[in-house]
Symmetry: C2
Subunit: 249 residues, 2 copies
């Protein structure tokens, strides 16, 4: 199979997949990003099956999403991905999201790391052939995911315990479920009036079935800093930049 | 476009979509069922767009799933759907799920109803052209979804409040989120040792953002009866039939 530096998958947003504002939910967008990254890695022979045979698995480490708008119900959209750079620890992978009119409506920047499944630590990617990582020169306008500063003491706090449907094949909490947990902090009214223009997520530590974590949120102007912490140590950091939702007439 | 009585969509189970047991989660299966039903309805011109222009939307009313096995990571599978019967209130739609070896590994039976989006009551489908519902003679071995009996007084009880990510474009709780709420009742150990051979779900009443419901579960032998109730009235009834999970050597 030819190892292409860019890979594109086209989708169609069905009504049942849409969120309360009749557009693509951010959770589904992140799910699609993971799916398309996996498909491209599989095509490059650095996917699930190859890594699993070495006891290694890809894990999403950072993601930044910047959207001009989200696909609407019944809209055809496509996600194109490419590898920007890599070293023996990390792989930087970018994405462009194109709407049905052919206009790019968002970009996504991700960092992936490989973990040793049994020892639950970072794996070394040098043993995988270097020429299986074809790079693309295509620019991605999203800046590298920044590290979230410590939250102020007056940040709000809620508890959550991870259950069966939060867990993925790596036996840790699914990347998308942390995001859902953060988004569930806000009211429907807030989402009716605001949209997420930009989000940064840093996955620092794995969480497991049955663990209870604390979600802390501090909002100033249009920026919400959020942290999921276990025993006082940050597991996931999230920064959301909100924009007013333009109401249709 | 030709109105075909059967519609098939092929998928590929990526690693990131798999559950903790490295197979297709039941929540994803129900999501795919809804997606494929929507695509077929769209192709028949009785989909989201057509109904929305009449202020009407399809809602899943009942679903029964019977599985011999679930697709594995990196397995290609396909879902075929057909309309078995309909009247002015309901549409009975069935599905066959085929694994990568071409063998049918499960069947699904669903009942759909149309709701008047503004008045939140059942809509009448007679105004939609009858010839847009081509029927198939293909048999579906899954029996009609039974009504769950009242739960015993000693059933377990837990509370849950619906949040933003639980809500869909119809502005009520997403069919799949009720199921996740039910499945989250059990431990990881239970799912490592048991698989769902059969499930029946009846959606009786809509739930909305911010509502707090009670999940009650009563298990006897290999059958778990579950109820999601709001103010003592059943919103969703679920019966699960478990089978021991066959461990791989």
């Amino acid at each position: 199979m030819e190892k292409k530096a860019e890979y594109t998958h086209s989708f169609y947003l069905t009504a049942g997949e849409a969120g309360a504002q009749s557009t693509m939910p951010l959770t589904l967008l992140v799910q699609r990003v993971i799916e398309v990254a996996t498909e491209h890695a599989n095509a490059l022979n650095i996917g699930y099956a190859t890594l699993a045979s070495h006891g290694v698995a890809w894990v999403l480490s950072k993601i930044s999403v910047e959207m001009q708008r989200y696909p609407a119900i019944n809209e055809q959209y496509s996600l194109t991905t490419w590898i920007e750079s890599y070293n023996r620890r990390f792989c930087d992978r970018c994405f462009a999201l194109t709407g049905s009119d052919g206009v790019t409506i968002g970009h996504i920047r991700t960092v992936w790391t490989a973990i040793d499944v049994r020892r639950r630590c970072m794996a070394d990617l040098t043993e995988f052939e270097r020429d299986t990582f074809p790079l693309s020169e295509r620019p991605c306008p999203v800046e590298k995911t920044p590290r979230l500063p410590a939250l102020p003491d007056n940040a709000s706090a809620q508890q959550y315990t991870f259950r069966y449907c939060d867990i993925d094949f790596n036996r840790h909490v699914n990347s998308v479920r942390y995001l859902a947990m953060v988004l569930n902090h806000w009211t429907m009214d807030h989402f009716d009036n605001n949209t997420i223009r930009h989000i940064d997520i840093c996955y620092h530590r794995e969480c497991y079935f049955g663990e209870t974590v604390q979600l802390r949120v501090a909002t100033r102007d249009r920026v919400s800093d959020c942290e999921i912490a276990r025993d006082g140590t940050r597991a996931v950091g999230v920064r959301i930049i909100w924009a007013p939702r333009v109401q249709k007439c």
